[in-house]
Symmetry: C2
Subunit: 215 residues, 2 copies
């Protein structure tokens, strides 16, 4: 049970999930969904990873989809918090964009198993859960767009197409969850730094002062 020290997601999060057994099941589900995908994962597999019988799952969750919903909700809350915190800091647009991309990417890399479930299993949610999550995602989009348009207005950025560039920036960050750690040569911090630099170039800003661009 404690054998897999591998899982980067044995982190302090999920602390809000309260009966201990419920949390173990949820962590097991995150691993299984990330590895094989939601539909390819069986409830027996999840229960087995948590060291329980298949029936135990249904004491804590009504359905397999409820598990996915809980994971997706908590993950989106965390990702959104990261972006909105960076977006509303009292700093220049370039600095805020650097922080947003850096921390957002770092989260996607460090918790790539969770992020993979969060970002790529949206369609498996029940319609009402899906629309709840989609609303959160629109706020992520708004946070990034706000930084970009404020940077343009302040003359810091040169961005011909703000909505399109917003989409591209988020897309670039999100896709980190797909490829990260297949054979990890980079740390989450390194990927965050690289991506922050690339995004600042995309919007026509010089790298933020103080954050050495490592040549």
């Amino acid at each position: 049970m404690d054998s897999t020290a591998e899982t980067t997601d044995g982190y302090q999060a999920w602390s809000e999930v309260t009966p201990d057994a419920a949390r173990r099941l949820l962590v097991a589900a995150v691993e299984a969904f990330a590895e094989r995908g939601y539909h390819a994962t069986t409830t027996r597999d999840i229960a087995g990873r948590a060291g329980m019988s298949p029936a135990a799952l249904y004491i804590h969750y009504k359905t397999k989809e409820e598990l996915l919903h809980r994971i997706s909700r908590i993950g989106h809350d965390k990702a959104l918090e990261i972006l909105e915190t960076a977006a509303s800091a009292p700093a220049a647009a370039a600095e805020r964009l650097d922080a947003a991309v850096r921390s957002f990417v770092r989260w996607h890399a460090a918790h790539h198993t969770t992020a993979r479930v969060v970002q790529y299993e949206l369609d498996a949610l029940a319609p009402e859960h899906r629309s709840e999550i989609v609303a959160l995602r629109r706020r992520s989009d708004a946070a990034v767009r706000r930084i970009l348009s404020e940077g343009v207005r302040a003359g810091e950025f040169d961005v011909p197409d703000v909505p399109g560039t917003t989409l591209a920036v988020l897309s670039l960050c999100i896709d980190v969850a797909r490829w990260f750690n297949v054979d990890g040569r980079r740390t989450p911090d390194e990927v965050g730094a690289l991506y922050a630099d690339l995004v600042l170039r995309m919007v026509g800003a010089r790298p933020a002062a103080g954050t050495a661009p490592k040549r």
Copy 2:
């Protein structure tokens, strides 16, 4: 059967798939896999979309996985051809990078159902098929990296981390398949132009002459 004029993939491709019924099944499988994912798609669903009985599928394909393999192989061949053609053109690095991103993105947008299967269902392939496909993907990576390193050597680009930037460029393009056409406000050509501009900025090049950056 001819009811879904929606499918952007009723294009001349798949022409190499020859009994007509086999092609209809394959097109049906692309649609179903793209909509619901490989594991959530049933063989009955595929056969139904193609207007056939469930058993008909097994006349033309040995397993459901063989269908996925054929789709993945043909799609990767096409994507790779696009990249390698652009990479080996007799032109400056900036111009080749522009062409590569533009055409690669355009393909992912125009054929986003196919691209989604190609890019996001890799793990559903049998091990031997997976490694065959992974080899093709390494060649895509090599094609982009070649453009970047040649551009750096020629003094056209300013790229501190060539492998990392290669990864980011490909990642950015590939992720188009995930978000495109959820509510299509942009044409594949427009997305291609936008992304080509963004990537040229990422590598520190001015937009290629002749391709107006649309302000």
